[in-house]
Symmetry: C2
Subunit: 310 residues, 2 copies
């Protein structure tokens, strides 16, 4: 069955990898990826979530960090730092090549989605990966220190500022990349990866047409909050700063009206009833994706459960 996964970075990539492995034909998977994190650095267009998803699906990712490439080296960055250049965003040599060639092609007029498709072929990614849009939709983080660009907040300031909200600049004018709406329309189900709801999934949903295409479709979300904390990144901190106790119930409430199915970790089993206030179908299982096998097992269980309930 054809499946769409909406994904941000590391958690999204791991979940998409599990789904790819769980499907009999990996080509039945389309991963629609957040572009809100994309930014310019060293004069290059950098797409952290797209690259993390592609590297992970191609098994080229750095297993220690979850982002960047396996067997990475840092020769260029060290030499740039020796010249006094900015090194607050770590760019490895192999990863840098991706940004150089992508930027070259973008300047030559190729759409991002076209470039990603070609890179995926060359890297041997068996699934389809689509940026949600070919237009930039930079996520702006509204904080108590003012509005800042996402990577400024996320990497440079290490998500220390308190958030008050988010803005997806230009999302009203953005169009879904070719294939995005079609993939959703023909999908048997849409899965929201356990990515950050505010800065990974919401910027995808902000592109006009995406929510509408999902209407009436089975949509399953996996909670990125386990035991009151985010498995990775600032999701729990963001919930708190927005005045909501971080929990699977809070995530389900955030996605209310959009998702029909919700997966929460066994550690939060006691919240299953509370989640059912927002979402009709609830699955409690082990959601920790600490190995390729566990990612695949989680995906297999979610897909089997969807088959049984839709």
């Amino acid at each position: 069955m054809s499946i769409v996964v909406l994904a941000g970075g590391v958690g999204g990539a791991k979940f998409a990898y599990g789904v790819m492995r769980a499907l009999p034909n990996p080509a039945d998977l389309t991963v629609i990826v957040n572009v809100g994190d994309d930014f310019e650095h060293w004069g290059l267009k950098i797409c952290p979530d797209l690259d993390t998803v592609c590297y992970t699906l191609a098994e080229l990712e750095n297993p220690a960090t979850g982002w960047g490439r396996r067997g990475e080296s840092w020769r260029v960055m060290e030499a740039v730092a020796a010249l006094g250049g900015p090194d607050w965003f770590r760019l490895g040599d192999l990863d840098l090549a991706t940004h150089i060639e992508r930027t070259r092609r973008l300047r030559a007029g190729q759409p991002l989605s076209h470039i990603v498709a070609d890179f995926c072929r060359r890297w041997g990614v068996p699934a389809r990966v689509l940026p949600v849009s070919d237009q930039p939709i930079p996520t702006m983080v509204l904080t108590d220190e003012g509005e800042m660009a996402f990577q400024e907040y996320f990497v440079r300031r290490r998500w220390r500022p308190r958030v008050r909200g988010f803005r997806f600049a230009g999302s009203e004018q953005a169009r879904p990349a070719p294939g995005v709406l079609e993939a959703i329309r023909i999908a048997r189900a849409v899965l929201l990866a356990p990515s950050n709801p505010f800065v990974s999934i919401d910027p995808i949903l902000a592109v006009p047409g995406i929510r509408q295409a999902m209407q009436g479709k089975p949509v399953a979300a996996v909670s990125p909050i386990v035991g009151g904390e985010a498995v990775k990144g600032p999701a729990a901190k963001m919930f708190r700063e927005l005045g909501v106790e971080p929990s699977p119930k809070a995530v389900a409430g955030h996605y209310r009206g959009l998702v029909s199915h919700f997966v929460l970790d066994a550690a939060d089993a006691s919240q299953a009833d509370a989640v059912r206030q927002h979402v009709p179908h609830v699955l409690v299982t082990d959601t920790m994706m600490t190995s390729p096998e566990r990612r695949q097992r989680l995906a297999e269980e979610v897909l089997a459960w969807l088959r049984d309930t839709i």
Copy 2:
């Protein structure tokens, strides 16, 4: 005594290095460098002659090639090639960092000469290195296959097309970089390195004000042609294609009216009288710069000779 060297790439860098070592105070040396080879590649501004001169003076250069950096690696270029990107111009990882940081600063509005000065400080270059101009003056090579950009001719086509002439695009409007004219004016002598007369030295001389600043000054040229061939690169081939037998005499004729002193290799000793038709002072010596010691020895001999004859 303060000395100016006009230089192109590898030969110019080696000669400038010798002069730097020969002077009691290396800060008395100003190297004015050709920018005609500069071009954009991978979206980056690349200045091959400037970098070769700086790396050589900092003893960071690759001694095997004469260009690029010592202990270089090629991780990025190999990964770019794996994505189908252009790899006809070889960019090492360490060298790439120079282009990335230079391009970033240029886009931020810093003049090239300012950037070069800062890089030289950081690399520990004891002499002063100046691009002849902060404006781009791209050398265009007129060939029997039409006009082509310099690196297209030089690297991509491996200087195979027959040349008919040269054009230094924008040179009429170019201004010497800050310090260039002053350095020439206060110099005891100006030395033309054994660089290619057509595509290394002429583009420097094409910048308005340079020739005038040199008038009446001792100017010594070292022949890049030895035994009828260029020590490196296409100089001899260019002379032939322009209808002139390549020889020290041909080089001296090319520089007639500009140079007062001319240095030719002992291998061409028989041409000394012919060279005197063009230039009053002629020195015959070993000009092969195959080791740092030989570079320094040549420079010491030339400087001593200049002291005796001016």
